[in-house]
């Protein structure tokens, strides 16, 4: 009977399943009917990559003939390509085969976004050589800060059993130009380097290779000791050096194009060279030497901070600037966009530009650890752009982070950009349908950081949903304002890290974890007291402003010139301080939180009008997520205003919607969110 019911049900819902828009196709929603015929695809030779390019064309391309050719003259384009179109034929040329595949995805994107295909020409050269997705996936299948289900990598099934999603994942990355994948969590298990695991990694590398993707691994600095049985993992110990060299050789035997290592060392409890009195340079160089013969690289994270008394925001700078020039050429320092930790808004990390003889790369976070997990719609391109476009003034005006990291400003040994992925085994890959746009946006910006957020949103919406203007325009408006909205209802005006401890979902500005590190407590970051709010990082405070190049040190250090969206990042501001719009700080804070709430409610209204334009499933999924976001926004507003009010002792301006929570009740909320996967 049970089976019978199941079967009946199955046939009833089968038609729905077939046409269900579950988001699994991402932005790759090419026409279902066949593409051009084989004789319309002109190319020489055969290779896995070329075959994929041809298959994409024959399956999905519905325009004129396409010629694919590798050209030596295009080698200067690196992974890039040249497209020359006429009504009869499109010629895609590139220095490498992968460039041809990227070119094919380019014209397919044109087709999807309804460009006029008869006369489009372009030359594309990627902004960065190494365009990396970092997976914080653990070997047990969980994902640190992952909100889209468990890991895509089925380590227990590998190497024997292959999920079809491995190739789908590679294709999606290739379609936006991502060419590097760190498979495992930076909080790395030494087991990752075990022979059996390397054999599993090899399988993934083989699947990814035709899509132009290299695999990298996060490594545990103690691996020689833990895995190799050595006495220690001291980087100056010859045995340790040999262990890494042997391990590199072993890896490259299996994976000849292996990318290299990502290392989190001496950070948040992870082992590192300082355990042996050595420097980060000592540690990184040892690994770099092991990888050098194979052109492998080391991405060494600057996210280090010790429980010292000094302002956490200063510590990466203090640690790494003295080491400038001491790193091997195949080491690149991976620096989080802000000096604290992927907050909704941070000042940019002052380390950018400060290392003059060392390669630097940005680390972004696509997964929304601090931005409402996969519940909140937050389009991150504006956040990414804000960092990349930040002028450090390291080499005078115009020394933007993008120019520092892409080799424009100073000759680069290595250029790279990375972001922590938001991908899991959820059917729609990223939990929230709109979180796909952040994977997409990172890929597009890694390829071309000149793209505007608006361009990226525009093409993503057209590819993922529809180009109907009735949908496109309002939804684009939601996306483009969404990050600022999240800042408004979470932590405006430069507030930061007032999240609930551990899981970082929801507000806990009252968090004061006695006995723990002070810099893990929200009260450390907001410094609220009877006088005012904010972290004094000026000369009279931690003097973190001194880490910025002139004139930023002065600009940030002076309350009247400091940008107001960072004012509480750099200053302890009196409650009665008059903001530029004439409001007091307290009132401004209240109105800004309230504005965040209102904007999310407006998103709900806008979204619900979109029902006629898209499929039922994704409409309902997003509708449901927006409801959570709307409730959460009120939660944030009430928690922060009621808590800060205990210091300001001022009324919330009376034209603002009143709190609906009690502060004491909010303090009791303890979410069981130890693991998100």
């Amino acid at each position: 009977m049970r089976y019978l019911r199941f079967n009946i049900l199955f046939f009833l819902i089968f038609p729905l399943l077939v046409f269900a828009e579950d988001g699994s196709q991402l932005w790759l929603r090419f026409p279902a009917k066949n593409g051009i015929s084989a004789d319309q695809i002109i190319s020489k030779g055969s290779s896995p990559t070329l075959n994929i390019a041809r298959k994409e064309l024959s399956s999905h391309w519905q325009g004129q003939a396409v010629e694919l050719r590798t050209e030596n003259k295009d080698k200067n384009l690196k992974d890039g390509y040249r497209i020359v179109s006429s009504p009869e034929k499109i010629v895609i040329s590139a220095g490498k085969e992968i460039g041809l595949l990227y070119g094919v995805y380019h014209i397919l994107r044109w087709q999807q976004t309804k460009a006029d295909l008869s006369h489009l020409n372009t030359i594309e050269k990627p902004s960065y050589d190494v365009r990396v997705l970092d997976h914080w996936d653990n070997l047990d299948g969980s994902i640190e800060r992952g909100y889209a289900g468990r890991s895509l990598w089925k380590w227990e099934d590998l190497p024997g059993k292959i999920s079809p999603r491995y190739e789908e994942y590679a294709r999606a990355n290739a379609s936006v130009g991502i060419n590097s994948v760190v498979l495992n969590n930076v909080n790395a298990s030494p087991n990752m380097l075990r022979e059996d695991y390397l054999k599993k990694v090899k399988v993934l590398a083989d699947i990814f290779r035709p899509y132009g993707i290299k695999v990298y691994l996060s490594v545990n600095f103690s691996s020689p000791k833990v895995l190799g049985g050595l006495q220690n993992s001291d980087p100056l110990n010859k045995d340790v050096q040999k262990w890494w060299k042997d391990k590199a050789a072993e890896i490259y035997r299996l994976i000849p194009d292996f990318g290299g290592f990502l290392v989190k060392a001496n950070s948040e409890g992870q082992p590192g060279p300082q355990d042996y009195g050595r420097t980060h340079a000592d540690g990184a160089n040892m690994m770099a030497d092991a990888l050098k013969p194979y052109n492998g690289i080391v991405m060494w994270r600057a996210f280090v901070y010790s429980p010292s008394k000094d302002d956490r925001a200063k510590q990466a700078y203090l640690e790494f600037v003295p080491l400038d020039g001491k790193f091997r050429d195949n080491v690149i320092i991976q620096i989080k966009n802000g000096p604290v930790d992927f907050q909704p808004r941070e000042a940019f990390n002052p380390l950018f530009g400060a290392l003059r003889k060392t390669s630097e790369m940005v680390e972004f976070q696509i997964t929304q650890e601090y931005l409402g997990f996969s519940n909140h719609l937050v389009f991150l391109a504006p956040l990414f752009k804000e960092t990349l476009d930040s002028d450090t003034y390291s080499d005078g005006q115009g020394s933007t982070i993008s120019k520092i990291t892409d080799g424009t400003l100073r000759p680069a040994k290595l250029t790279a950009i990375s972001a922590v992925a938001n991908i899991g085994e959820d059917t729609n890959w990223t939990g929230h349908h709109f979180a796909q746009s952040n994977w997409y946006a990172f890929g597009r910006l890694a390829w071309n950081h000149q793209l505007s957020s608006e361009q990226i949103a525009d093409e993503w919406i057209k590819m993922t949903f529809t180009d109907d203007q009735n949908f496109l325009n309002p939804v684009k408006e939601i996306m483009l304002s969404s990050r600022e909205t999240a800042v408004d209802y979470m932590m405006p005006l430069g507030l930061h890290h007032i999240f609930a401890g551990g899981h970082h979902y929801g507000p806990e500005p009252w968090g004061d974890y006695k006995g723990g590190r002070p810099d893990w407590s929200p009260v450390y970051y907001h410094q609220a007291d009877a006088q005012g709010l904010g972290f004094n990082r000026t000369k009279t405070g931690s003097n973190a402003v001194s880490q910025y190049f002139p004139p930023l040190n002065e600009r940030y250090g002076n309350i009247s010139t400091c940008p107001e969206n960072l004012i509480l990042w750099f200053h302890h501001v009196p409650w009665d301080y008059t903001m530029k719009d004439g409001k007091t700080l307290w009132d401004e804070l209240c109105y800004t939180y309230d504005s965040g709430v209102k904007k999310v409610r407006d998103y709900q209204k806008t979204w619900e009008r979109m029902e006629p334009y898209i499929d039922k499933q994704r409409f309902a999924d997003v509708q449901s997520k927006l409801r959570i976001q709307s409730k959460d926004a009120v939660w944030w507003k009430d928690a922060c205003l009621l808590y800060f009010q205990t210091f300001s002792k001022k009324p919330i301006p009376y034209d603002i919607e009143r709190p609906v929570h009690e502060l004491e009740d909010l303090k009791k909320i303890k979410l069981d969110m130890g693991h998100h996967n």
Copy 2:
């Protein structure tokens, strides 16, 4: 150490306790300084009631001299009184001593409300002879539908230990003219009539007597069998009749002015005369005969309904109209204001006016079983007035329920009015500070049903909080609109009984308790389907409209003349039906729910502006309750709109704030609210 800490804490908060405005004083906030001296109070004789009157004057009256005198010419005023003022003296005269006490409270009210005391004159005569508070208090200290803590009556302590609150309670009642108290739940324990309990009751009766208050008891119809050990409780059984006569004699020996019995029989599982094939008249008359020698009365409840197929709203009428004229003179039929059950809004009960030879009294509910417990601010005077002012047309135009029940329309053998109390042992008596106003309002209307809601709110606010216009006017506006607001966010347009089962807190329009009585399920009452919403009580439906006198039967029965605030009570209305404002029913429903939410948010804004005018404690208590109400309003709106939308299949108008809940999540809410006390 624990004790030490307690003591320190105690001394720290002691100053606060002394001045805390905890609401325990109700509306009796007379000047703290002494009143007039003894020689300024002119009166003859001495009695407990007179002594109270004198004490109130000497403690609190700060005006001219006061003379109190009983006058035979004022006997026609019943419990009423006459006040004649000059700048030198106020003369209060009355036919009975209690009238003098009422008169004293009258001038104290004038004093509190800052009337000009030099020339005020008035003659007051109560609208009803018997002005009853029904306590649904159980012998175990719990209170059915009580939301202000456990019972005031400490049965275990009585008769030996006397709570000071017994007298405070009596004084509060006397101050608004309530003269009758039913001590125990209508779902009565037979034990109430046990000798030991009667001795406890006597103690309360003795305390209440000087305040002009008689005690009554709810009795269990099976008492002769259960308590007396008789074979049955058949009202035609001589032994049973004798048992009740003996019991009456026993009661009156202890309490010579005992008021009588309140009886819930053959209703919701309670025993009654129908258990023996007898009628309600048989049962009521038997008790009436037992009480008659002592001038006791029987209040017999018309709230009966059987699990038959017929519309529950018709059943009291069907049951009682055939018995008209068969009741003894000292029986009065106690009829709930509406034919279902104390809903936020009901059509009035068609039994009013339909019993031409039988005394009828209204039963209201002060305790907010269906109006958000003690969490929601709902001022009930407008609801009480709506019923009392309803024109039944029983004897032509102007046959209002007040005129039917107060003896104006037909010579009355007995006039009475009752309401279920909202009083418990909470420090502020009623849970919500504003719920005190409903106790007050009922008392004032029982005394004078001509008072307007506005007058009552005005004097209550002045007495309870302040006469500062900045507070008075906005808060009065909240109170006067609050009942309509609750209707809007709970069940507008005549919707009813779509509460969560059992506890009746929060929405459960989807409630469909299979296997239970259909008329305990919300779906029975709203009848939502693909066509529309509402209970067809017209000729084509249950024809409940036929129970109303012309022209109401026609007016209610015709969808175009039916008042829109009852349209879903009487009609199954198509979703697309055009309402008077041009909106469809569905849109109207949506906007009305939304309007309810907005109004509560406005109350919050208004209330928070009131902070400067009153004490911190009551300000914060009410602020906190309004937050709950505001959240609950959104809960109601979302639950009802999302649920009804599954039938209407129409979008919620897009300018309305969107739901923040998922219907499926709301359906899972199961509150643990079995007992409220």
